[in-house]
Each structure stands twice: as structure tokens, then as C-alpha cells.
């Protein structure tokens, strides 16, 4: 199929609009409201064209391209209409930077924008270098304005964290509103008022903080003007360089473009060229990366404790000192606690250092929920095969969310869920406390705290009543399972969960409709004394439904999946090959320290509670910021962060991402793999001679099946049934809500705006509360 635009014949695809077809063939049609990720809106009217056999001037953005259509885009009347419309738009938008006759000369002299609160003049706009209105004006040749500008005189909105708003620059293209509503599913902003008083605003004019805003920044990235601008990077102007990398703050690993200027990462923008994850970037990735990474407190030099004081030394000295010190301990006395933010390469080397060079099999991840889940899956032989992915979520027919706070731990995930819901998925929330996503769901059940096991057991029983499971009856575990179910009375379950019978059957009925479902579970199940029981009961449900996939644990830490893949998990070598020699896992290492079995530790992040490692004789700590553990460490090694090294990360669903270097590390800080190589070489180990992290990756790909292309085993069938627990409430252990962190440091500790946002949402205690608590304690003392 083809259409002709201004005499040029171009191909079209089924369902494309004229604008989309033109874009695919690199034909420019000016527009300000159309956006690749959004459906046609038709507000700016700049894309008007003439089409043979059609009346008037149809807009290219919403007119479907049909075979043989003849379109005139560069035609006298069309140009005139567009110019007239753009002149109208410019009446509402300060435009001295567009129509000034000295413009070209002026801009060659004045580089960056002038910092100004209110943007009225030519060089005050932070968006000047990337402004789309200027682009369109240039194309249409607007060089004068007969009608004077009408400055709206609206107050500046600068009281919210992360971004400023100056709606005097707004041209009401509606991209921000549509992004917020249609893509992010939040709807924090909308059009308010009407006629020329129309303005983008929040409900009742509240601040974004009080409103529904999740500060994902999608609105800013969509804005064609300088009306919305990020506080952190608005005055930096254009970046010197940029690399395609990822955000590593949570396990979704959204693709980001890291922008570098003056040797530092100054902004991280969602990578819009990547189909996957361009829409998912959240408050952490969009706004916190530069502020978090560029804090002046970053560690610059290796430190060794000499006479009780930490003093800076050279890397050679540090490596030698570590090598010499470790040799004093027996291999089984040395433990490795691995940060789930290391790259796959670094984790692979740590595994090599620990298991092959030193001979210690005491290696585990620093994590609670992720470690528990991955260990469980690895034991069941399900960790190595491909996991349920984000695409599965988007295409699911039903999604069940169990005990999670994904709005704060995985803010990108609700976007996928919104997309799924738009595609017709039924969203069910099963939670024992408030879930922010309740408005986005079709069914919500609030279960009594501690009754999740009973809920799952009752659900299992209902499913068993309605599904034939002849194949399962042959399993050994079936008799016990059946018996445990027979012991469960639905009325008891209703009583202890607080979920009505009809709610049970509604959920059960929905789950039975399709095998394209997803159960997501969050870290709040760790409040249960035996969380693996819950995983087992979820497995029961999926087994009965005959779903081999469909389980997503919301892993928290950035690369927990990757370091487990690379061998930093107890009992498994890289690629989930069983380790023949047994070692201690995290908890047994902690008890080992207390007993004196474990004496030396290599720790790669400072998030472990100090009391856990008290008693260890020698502690090597590699980290990026000073932490509470510093006072106990014998050696502190400054590590590079994800924007300062190259390597690979694996997201929660097993997708492998390239990490690319955007800036140099501060001082003499080194990437983790170089640190480990240095230690390894000093311990006399072979195979640490790498030129770059790429060499390590090649070695991994060559030697380990798991990392080869299509090297992962197929998803095994679910063939295990676990006896369900007795109905009733379990006593839960209180748990602090998870806060997003990197290498052990909570992001909000270094990003003031994030602290404000999390405080407002009660994710962290308020600062004044903390001081009040301290004061109260002092009084008691």
C-alpha cells in the first residue's frame, strides 16, 4: 500500500495515519501535540494537510492513510493555514527568542540560558536548545508577529519536589495530561477551566505532592516547551555526551540515556528509542540518579585501618594488605557477602575468588526477600529457566497482586499493569494493608494480617473443586495435599481472612478463565515466619491451574537476579550449577561469626546491621558512600557506581542489559571487577588478567551454558503440591517498609526531594518525627 505526499510515493502500513506514515519515511510534517507513544489528539492543528477528494484541511495526525491517497503537505494554502495557526499559538507563548531579528548572532554568543524564575524573554528559557516550537517556527518560517503576545501572568509553580511548572509557557498540547492518564494510568493532572482560561492543573489546584502525582517525570519528557522543567538539570543546557545505559535502582532495569556534562552524569532520561521500558522510568530513575551519584561524600581513596584510624593508601598497598591478611585465615573462615548491585561480571569474579581461588564456599547475597525467593526457586530447579516477563504482564488476562507496595518499590510496574488493564486484563489485589493501586484494580480484597496462607489455601480448595487434576493425583505429595485440603473448611477461611465467600468465588472464577495470568508477590510476605510456605502455596495454585509460568516475585535490588545467575548464591555456582561443596548461607555466616567459625569477611555494601558482623576479625568493605559499618571495617575500598563502569545487569525477568560508562569515577575509585581482580591476583589466583569487563563477559558466555544464547533450559512443568497450612492467623514479625537503595545507601538519604515525597506517603518516618522520638528517648533517659 502506498500514498503520495507532495509527489513522493511512500509505503504505508495497515492502520497508520498520514503522520505516522510520513514519519516512517522521514517526511517532516510539523506538529506539536502528536507524540509517538500517544494516540492522536488533534489539538495543535499544525499538521493540517490537503488530501485529494477530501473536504477542507484534515489533520495528518488523525487521518488514516488509505491506499492511493494523494496528500499535499507543502502547498500554499496549507502553509498559510499552518502559519496562521502557529502565530495564534505564539500569542500564548513568550516568543521573543523566535522572532527576534538578532536571533542568530545572539545565540552564537550567549551559550547557556540565563537563570531566571519567570521566563518572559529570549535567553531565559531552559528549554531553548531543545524547544519544539522553535523547530516548527523555523520550518514554517515565522519571523515576525503582528499580534502582540498575551502573557497569561499565571503564578509559577515551584513548590513541589523534582520539577518546576511555568504554565505561562504552556501551549496546551495535552501531552503531559495524556501521558499521565493514558500511559502512566495516574491522572494526577488534567485540563482545568475552559476557553482561553484553559490550564493544566491538579484536582482542586492542590500541589502535586498532595495530589496523586508519582513524580515519574513522563510529563516533562513529553512537554514540547519549557513549561515543565526538572529542577535538577534545567539550567545545564545540552549535554556534552550521552550513553544508552540502564537504571539500576530496582530490578526492572529500565533503559535510560545517561547525559554527561562537565565529566558528570547530569541527567537520566528514559530511553525512548527502546520499545521495552521507555514508559516505565520512575521517580528514582528519572530524577534521583545525578543527585545520588554526584554527592560530594563519595569515597575517593582506599582506606586501611592503621592504629585504629583509617588512612588513605594506594591500591597496591590495599590489595597487598588484603592478600596478606586473608592468608592468615582458613578458607572456611572467610565469608563473602555480596551486594546485589554488582554487575554480573563482578559477581562472577567474586564467585571465582571465593570458591576457586580461596576455596571458601561461604558466599551469599545481601538481601532478604530476593535471597529467599531465588534460593527457593533454585532449590526447586526453576531459577535457571526463563521467568515471567514484563510482556507477559502486559498481555495477561488477569493479574493478582499479593502484599506489595510496587508503587514505591517498583514504580514502573503499575505502568505495565495499567497497560494490561487497558488491554482488558482483570486486576485483583490481595493485601493485608492499603495498596496504592486499588483505584487501578477490578477486585480488591483486604485480608486480615497473617491470614495470607489461609487465603491461598481456600483459593486452592475452590480451584480443586472446579478443575480436574487427574494428572496431579499421581504425585506422591498429592495424598497429603488432598488431606490437608479436606481439613480446611471454607467457613473457617472466611472467618479468619475476612474475605467473603462470593469474593473468593469471583477471584477463583476469574483465575480459571485463562492461563495467561500473573501472580505478583511483594516483599511484605517476609513478615511471615516461613515465607517459603507462601511461595509453596502460590505454586499449588499455579500447579492446579496448569500454569508453568505466571509467577513474578517483585525482586527489589537492582541486579539480584544477575548476581545469583553469576554464582553469588549459596550452594550454586554460575548458571545454577550445584556447588558440590557446601558453604554457609547469609544467616549461617552471621551465626558463624558469633561462634567464631567465620572470622574474615568481604562485604560489598554497607547495609548489613553492624550487630550481625560484630566479632569478625577482619572485614574488607567495598562501598561507594560511608556507612555505619565503616567503624568496624579494616579496609574500605571505594567502588565505582553503575554510571562509571561497563558491564551487564539482569533484570527481574531475566533480561540482560548492557551497562555503559558515562563518566569517570571520583578520586581513585575503581569498578568492582578491578577491585576483585586486584585482590585475586594478590592471593596468587590465576585468571584475573582482564583488559576490560567485556573480556569477563566473553569468558562467562564461553564457559557457562546459562549465559549462552538460548542456553537457558525450558520452563519445567509444575509438579509439586505442598500441604496447605491450617486455617488461622499467623503471628507476623513487624517489618520496616522497603526503601529503594543502591549499594546499601537509601536513595532518599542523598536526595532531599525524594525524602519529601516518601515522607508525604509515609514510606519513611518524617524528619521531625525522628527528632521527636529522639527527644522523647532523651527525656526518658
Amino acid at each position: 500500500m502506498k500514498i503520495t505526499i507532495d509527489g513522493v510515493e511512500i509505503p504505508i502500513k495497515e492502520g497508520q495515519t498520514i503522520l505516522e506514515a510520513a514519519r516512517d519515511s522521514d517526511i517532516y510534517i510539523p506538529t506539536l501535540c502528536a507524540h509517538k507513544e500517544l494516540p492522536a489528539f488533534g489539538a495543535c492543528r499544525l499538521c493540517v494537510v490537503k488530501v485529494d477528494k477530501m473536504r477542507g484541511f484534515p489533520p495528518a495526525c488523525s487521518t488514516p492513510a488509505t491506499d492511493g491517497m494523494i496528500v499535499h503537505s507543502d502547498e500554499k494554502e496549507v502553509r498559510k493555514l499552518r502559519r496562521n495557526i502557529l502565530r495564534l499559538i505564539l500569542i500564548e507563548h513568550p516568543h521573543s527568542c523566535i522572532v527576534c531579528s538578532e536571533r542568530a548572532d545572539c545565540e552564537s554568543i550567549r551559550g547557556g540560558p540565563v537563570k531566571a524564575g519567570r521566563i518572559t524573554g529570549c535567553s531565559m528559557c531552559p528549554n531553548r536548545e531543545t524547544c519544539e516550537i522553535r523547530e516548527v517556527s523555523h520550518y514554517l518560517g515565522i519571523s515576525d508577529m503582528e499580534i502582540p503576545m498575551e502573557y497569561k501572568g499565571l503564578p509559577l509553580e515551584r513548590y513541589d519536589p523534582f520539577f518546576d511548572r511555568d504554565y505561562n509557557l504552556c501551549i496546551l498540547c495535552g501531552r503531559c495530561v495524556r501521558m499521565c492518564q493514558q500511559i502512566r494510568g495516574v491522572g494526577a493532572i488534567a485540563f482545568t477551566k475552559r476557553s482561553h482560561n484553559t490550564k493544566v492543573g491538579t484536582i482542586f489546584g492542590r500541589t502535586h505532592l498532595e495530589g496523586a502525582c508519582r513524580f515519574c517525570g513522563a510529563c516533562i519528557d513529553a512537554c514540547p516547551t519549557g513549561a515543565l522543567s526538572p529542577k535538577g538539570s534545567k539550567w545545564h543546557g545540552k549535554a556534552d555526551s550521552s550513553v544508552e545505559s540502564i537504571c539500576t535502582f530496582c530490578s526492572m532495569n529500565c533503559a535510560m540515556v545517561l547525559e554527561e556534562k562537565w565529566g558528570r552524569v547530569m541527567a537520566a532520561i528514559p530511553d525512548r528509542n527502546k520499545e521495552y521500558s521507555r514508559a516505565y522510568a520512575c521517580v528514582y530513575g528519572r530524577f534521583c540518579i545525578p543527585a545520588f551519584l554526584n554527592d560530594p561524600n563519595r569515597l575517593h581513596y582506599p582506606l586501611i585501618r592503621k592504629g585504629g584510624r583509617l588512612s588513605p593508601v594506594s591500591w597496591e598497598e590495599a590489595f597487598r594488605y588484603i592478600g596478606d591478611s586473608l592468608k592468615r585465615f582458613a578458607p572456611e573462615e572467610i565469608g563473602f557477602l555480596v551486594s546485589p548491585y554488582l554487575t554480573n561480571e563482578s559477581a562472577y569474579l567474586l564467585n571465582k575468588l571465593s570458591r576457586d581461588v580461596i576455596g571458601s564456599h561461604n558466599i551469599d547475597m545481601i538481601s532478604k526477600f530476593g535471597r529467599m525467593v531465588i534460593q527457593y526457586l533454585a532449590e526447586k530447579g526453576r531459577a535457571s529457566s526463563s521467568w515471567t516477563t514484563l510482556e507477559d504482564v502486559e498481555k495477561a488476562d488477569w493479574i493478582m497482586l499479593i502484599n506489595n507496595d510496587m508503587v514505591f518499590t517498583h514504580p514502573g510496574m503499575p505502568v505495565a499493569i495499567h497497560k494490561a488493564r487497558e488491554n482488558g486484563a482483570r486486576i485483583m489485589i490481595v493485601d493485608d494493608s492499603k495498596n496504592e493501586l486499588e483505584v487501578e484494580s477490578d477486585m480488591q480484597v483486604r485480608i486480615e494480617p497473617g491470614s495470607l496462607r489461609t487465603f491461598l489455601a481456600a483459593l486452592t480448595k475452590l480451584l480443586m473443586n472446579n478443575i480436574k487434576v487427574t494428572e496431579l493425583e499421581e504425585l506422591d505429595s498429592f495424598i497429603d495435599f488432598r488431606r490437608s485440603l479436606d481439613g480446611l473448611k471454607l467457613i473457617d477461611a472466611v472467618r479468619s481472612t475476612g474475605v467473603l465467600e462470593k469474593q473468593f468465588s469471583a477471584i477463583e472464577g476469574t483465575m480459571r478463565t485463562s492461563k495467561k495470568g500473573v501472580i505478583m508477590v511483594g516483599s511484605r510476605i517476609m513478615e511471615d515466619p516461613v515465607p517459603t510456605q507462601i511461595l509453596g502455596e502460590i505454586n499449588n495454585v499455579l500447579t492446579i491451574l496448569g500454569m508453568d509460568r505466571g509467577f513474578i516475585p517483585l525482586l527489589e535490588e537492582g541486579n539480584i537476579r544477575g548476581i545469583a545467575d553469576s554464582g553469588c548464591i549459596n550452594g550454586f555456582r554460575p548458571g545454577y550449577v550445584r556447588d558440590r561443596t557446601s558453604g554457609k548461607d547469609y544467616l549461617r555466616m552471621i551465626t558463624g561469626i558469633r561462634r567464631g567459625d567465620v572470622q574474615a569477611l568481604f562485604i560489598s555494601e554497607g547495609s548489613i546491621p553492624p550487630e550481625h558482623i560484630r566479632g569478625a576479625k577482619f572485614i574488607v568493605l567495598s562501598e561507594i558512600y560511608p556507612t555505619d559499618l565503616d567503624s568496624m571495617a579494616d579496609v574500605i575500598l571505594p567502588s565505582a557506581v553503575f554510571s562509571e563502569e561497563s558491564g551487564h545487569y539482569t533484570s527481574f525477568d531475566g533480561r540482560v542489559w548492557n551497562l555503559r560508562k558515562a563518566a569517570e569515577p571520583p578520586g581513585s575509585a575503581l569498578p568492582e571487577w578491578k577491585i576483585i581482580s586486584g585482590i585475586g591476583k594478590n592471593l596468587g589466583g590465576d585468571g584475573f588478567e582482564y583488559g576490560s569487563s567485556e573480556d569477563i563477559w566473553k569468558e562467562m558466555e564461553e564457559n557457562i551454558d546459562f549465559f549462552k544464547k538460548d542456553g537457558r533450559p525450558p520452563v519445567p512443568e509444575r509438579k509439586e503440591l505442598l500441604s496447605v497450612s491450617e486455617p488461622g492467623s499467623i503471628h507476623l514479625s513487624e517489618q520496616m517498609p522497603y526503601v529503594v537503595r543502591y549499594r546499601g545507601t537509601p536513595i532518599h538519604e542523598l536526595v532531599e526531594d525524594l525524602r519529601t515525597y516518601l515522607e508525604e506517603n509515609d514510606r519513611i518516618p518524617r524528619e521531625e518525627d525522628e527528632s521527636a522520638v529522639e527527644e522523647a528517648q532523651r527525656e526518658v533517659v
Binding site: R45, I91, R194, H196
Partner: protein, 645 residues
Amino acid sequence: MSMTGIEEMRKISEQRWSDLKGAEKVAYIGAASCGHAAGIVKVIRAIDEFNEKNGLGIEKVEVGCLGMCSFEPMVYFQKNGKDPVVYGNLDGERIPTLLDGIFNKDHYPIEGLLGVLGEGYDDLPSIYDHPMMRPQRRIILENVGRIDPTNLEHYLANDGFKGLEKALKMDPQEVIDIVKGSELRGRGGAGFPTGMKWQFCRNAKGEKKYLICNADEGDPGAFMDRSVLEGDPFRLIEGMIIGAYAMGTQLGYIYVRKEYPLAIFRLHIAIRECREKGILGKDILGSEFDFDIEIMEGAGAFVCGEETALIASIMGKRGMPQPRPPFPAQKGLWGYPTNINNVKTLSTMPSIMRKGADWYSSIGTKGTRGTAVFALTGKLKNSGLVEIPMGTTLREIIFDIGGGMDEGKSFKAVQTGGPSGGCLPADALDYIVDFESLKDAGTIMGSGGMIVMDEDTCVVDVAHYFISFTQEESCGKCSPCRIGTKQMLDLLTKIKAGDGTRKELDELASLAWTIQNGSLCALGQTAPNPILTTLRYFMDEFREHVFEKKCRARVCKALIQYEINELKCIGCGACERRCPVKAISEKPVKVTTIKGSKNNIRVIDPGTCIRCGLCLETCPPSANAISKVSPIDRKDEKKQGGDGK
């Protein structure tokens, strides 16, 4: 209820109806919103009082409005089973003498008598011979003003639901074929062939389909839909069920503006009544066809009359138009195929189904069949709601039905189609009313508003008024409409203030073109029509404003002055006392009044005067000393005078 059920009910209804018609003493009360506004409540109270005092036993029946607005409040009295006699311009005080005359003395007082609602008798003329009624052909308004709108029996007795019964016996496609054959065009304004529209919706694939009745009538001066809703709601329901059956719709919405509380109230009653009797709901009249109607109240946005904005509004979203395609017939309410028709379109259906396509297509002109309902307002003698066959000339409507200009003024312009339409001058009065002809004239048929203006109206002011309306009602989505209408308004304000130049006139024309061709929805696309037509037909008046700084209708305040005629002023000082800005002062010229006292005459200081016109109102008619003048005329006169010397 089954078909036989309705037959039985119709029999009962007919019996009751004839009982009512044969009753001894009945007062039919015009109790639509217009009646209420004109003071019908006082009339009702007076009737009740008189009735009670004299024990007459008059039965009261509340009916809709006959469409003779200038004669409200109206009551028709029926005596001894004869056709009722219509009285207009009533007030509570006249009721006792009137009732006494009719029911006690067998004498119909002549004052306020309009005619017999039926054929004339005993020297009483038929109301259908009244100049306002004679040229009319009432199809949609057939029952309006004749029956109790909340009484299903009245509707049934007047051929109600006969069309539906007929339709339900047919194949849905046959129903659409009849509508196609009738050549009915949508009465919402655009005039799209209804049969075709229904066919689109019928052919569209979707597990659900919706039918929406657009009753969000928002044009200034238009009240056709309101009258139908208040006067004959069952008719609309019948039309909707026919449409739903033809298109295969399960649920219908009536989107009615909240400013019509009485219409909403009566619709609710009518829908409930229909549900109870099995005319709405499951298995309608035993046909195994299910359909129900919900009422959706609009929140006062003019733009919600636009299809896509209306759909968004029903879905709880901001009422903003969407680009088409997708058309509502493909993807409308909640994403399903949706058909939207105007109240009048749907209300025509019962008659078409009952009397057939050929009957309907025999009325009207070649391109536009049927009748047009107009809300005739403005500076006319007889304003009101009229239904005329298509093809009637504007002149007939204005001068025959409307009775010509009020107070002996001369005709200047007529505006049809509300803010989307245009102003036509006297030259255009011989244009006939149909979609094409009015389009040729530069205006549109619209949904039926017709505002007549006399010589005291300034066309620049009229254009300014309509643009200020559309400007305010623009949803703010697309730039040409949002910004362009504001610019046009500013230009017109400038011209009205006497600050216009040739540049402003040129800019007006250019803006009008941009908005017309660039806007997203019909609101924007038609917003410049009042300006385009006034520029076309009344350019000389614009030029006067711009080049001579003169407003010939003496409306634009910046271009007029108030003046006291020294020879006529009696020095009473009433104007001085009334003036809110103290612009009037005494002038040491004495004048002797009739009573003999000597007063100083008054003079207005044009610099202080704010042209509020209060002095003109206050000046005693006996003196009539104050007048509006164009300062420019004064100068001319002086100049001429000077030359003469």
C-alpha cells in the same frame, strides 16, 4: 406487556381520553417552563380559589406549550364537551371574571381570546386560523400543548406507540429502509441523512451498541428540544425505541442539559411509566427485544452538544471533542458503536413509522424533507415555537407567523443556527428554509434557533455577542478555536470601541478563515459564521464603525452620546437624580413648566457620561427630551450649518 396488552390499554386510554374531551368543565393549563416563567402559577392559584369558592368543579389538566410564547401564560377552557377555548396573556386578577363569564354566564370574554383548539364554533374562531398557527404543519409538535405530557394514556389515545408496534413487527432492516425512504435528515444542525447514519451503526460490529439522544440544546434563544421534552416525552421514547430496534441497541442515553429541570423531571416520569408498562426494559411489547433508557444530565457546557464531547461527558471525562475518525458509529461510548440523534430527529420517527416513508417525503423540498421546528425569538410581534414545512420562506416565517416587527420598527436581520449560524439581511428574506438554501445564504439551518433583529440592533454588536459566546464555550483544546476566537473577540471589541482600522477588518477576515479551516470540531469550524455573514451582508456598517466612527443603531457605547434637547427639557431634574456618575448638571437657562414654576434645564457632560442610558429611561414621556445621537452626525450637521452661513 404484550402487543395485545397494549391494545387493551389503548382502548382504556381512548375511553378515558374521550371522557376527558366530553367533560363538562376542564381547564387545560399551559405548564411548560415558559408558562411558569410567564406566571402560570398565579393563574392556577386563582383558578383554584375561584373553583373552590364557587364549587364549579373544574377539572385541571396540565399540558405542554402550544408554542405561542408571546401569549403566555395560557389556559384553555373546555365546557360541556366542546373543544376548549384558548385564552392567552392571562394573569391571576382576570381569572374570576373570565371563569365567571365562561362557566356561569355562558359568555366567552373577548379579551385574550385566541381561538378554539379545534374547529371554531359559535362565532369563536379556530386557533389554527390564528396567523401564528395557520402556516404551521405540526408533526413533531403534534401533541405538544394538547396532552398531559406525564400521562401515558393521553399519549396512547393520540396514536402513541402505534409506530413502535408497527416497527416491532418488521425486520430491523425494513425499519431502516423506511427511514431511508423518508429522506429524513438529522435535525441537530448538520443535516446528515438519518437512515444512512442508522445503517452505519447497524452495520458496525460490536458486542454492545448505544443510542444517544442529544438534548443538550445550548444555542442562545433556542428552546425547541425543551418544548418537545416538556410537552411530549413519550414521543421521544417511542422514537428511541424504534431507533434502538433498528440498530440493535440495548441501552440508550438521553443527554439533557441540567438547565432543563422540568424536562428532566417529566422524562423521568415518562421513562418510569414506560418501564412499568413493559414498553421499556426486557421483552418490549412481547417482541423479545430489550432496551432501556438512562438520563444523563449535562453540566452546562455548550461544546457537549458535539458528538464526541458528549460521549466523553457521559463517560465522566472532560467534555472535549475527539478527532474523527474513529466516528462514534465505529467507536463511540465506552468504545462501542454509538449513534447520536437529536431530539427532533427521534421524535419524528413515530409519525414516519405510522404514516410511512412516502407520506413524510411528500412534505418539504427536494433535498430536505419534512418540517422544521424553529424557536422564533427577537423583536417580533409573535415570538414562539413554530413547525413549518421545509420550503417556507424566511419572510413568511417572520412576517406572517411572527407578525412582523414589534413597535413599528423596521426589520434588519435574522440569525439562524445560533452562534454557529449567520445573520441574514432583508434582501435574503426570500430564501426558503432548507439545509442547502440556507447554506447558500451563508448561514446554517442549525437546530432551530431563529433570532429576529430590528433597526435598533447593531450588527457589529451582534457579531461580538455571538463570538463572546463561542469564545467562552470553546473547550480550549485546539489552538485555532481557543486562541482565535479570543483574538476575534478582541478585534470586535476594538471596532466597537471606535479604535478599529482597515487592518482590524482584514485581520478579522483572515482569522475567520483560519478558524473555519483549522478547528477540530464544528464549534470552532462554525464559530466565524456570524462574522463572515455580517461582513458579507453588512460591510457598510462595519465600515461606518471603522472609518466614520459611527454606530447607526446607536448601540456601541463608545460611538454614541446622550443629549438633552434644550427646547424639550422641562427641568424636572429626574435624570440628574438618577445619573449614577453625576454627569448631568443644571444649566442657567430657565424654563417654565406647565405648573408655572421656573426650572433650570439640564445638560449632560459627555466626558463623565458612561452611556448607561438611565436618563433616557427616566425622562418623562411628556418631555421626551433625551436622545441617543452619534457624535459624528452632530459634527456633520454643524459643518453643513457652517457652510450654509
